[in-house]
Symmetry: C2
Subunit: 111 residues, 2 copies
């Protein structure tokens, strides 16, 4: 099970990456995360909705309403151009972070 502190700071990256392939809505995103992490990370609704709104307020996501299958209106989110830029930036930062933590975690010696 992956804890909140471990994932903190990487949620934006995960959301942006999921939305890179196609627009989606909160509930589906939540399912996607649960499924693809094989149940190892269960994002909370509050966390998810808060993050989506934050990303939208920062101009990284756009949203639109769409009444679909269930007959209930859903808020779909999609990447903006800026969001795509941020996604690439976050991917790069993630690679640095991963390298750094791996470096220490595995006890390798200096470069």
């Amino acid at each position: 099970m992956i804890g909140a502190d471990a994932i903190r700071g990487h949620i934006d990256l995960i959301l942006l990456a999921i939305l890179e392939t196609r627009p989606s809505y909160a509930y589906e995103i939540s399912r996607t995360i649960t499924d693809r992490s094989r149940g190892e990370y269960l994002i909370k609704q509050t966390t998810l909705y808060t993050a989506l709104k934050r990303l939208q307020s920062q101009g990284q996501l756009d949203s639109y309403e769409d009444v679909s299958a269930t007959g209930k209106p859903r808020t779909y989110y999609e990447l903006t151009a800026d969001g795509l830029d941020q996604l690439e930036a976050k991917r790069a930062e993630w690679r640095s972070t991963r390298e750094l933590v791996d470096h220490f975690a595995t006890g390798k010696d200096a470069p």
Copy 2:
């Protein structure tokens, strides 16, 4: 440059891993992190001292004073048995986190 949010939750792992090889003190640890991250992550003094005290209060670290080279007393920290256990647990959690974020960040498909 690695931001605070990206590293958050992984600092304990880094500190414990550094102290696994041998006891050390705050200033040296700070130098170690700066050096080994090639300047990509500069841990703040407050962050470091706070983290060390937290880990000590949780019984993962012991400390002892030692007057050395500079003539000033230093607080050395060393791993406890519990700290070693926690280190292993955090390594495992890190591997899970890394796998999860990599999975989404690289846009691979479901297992």
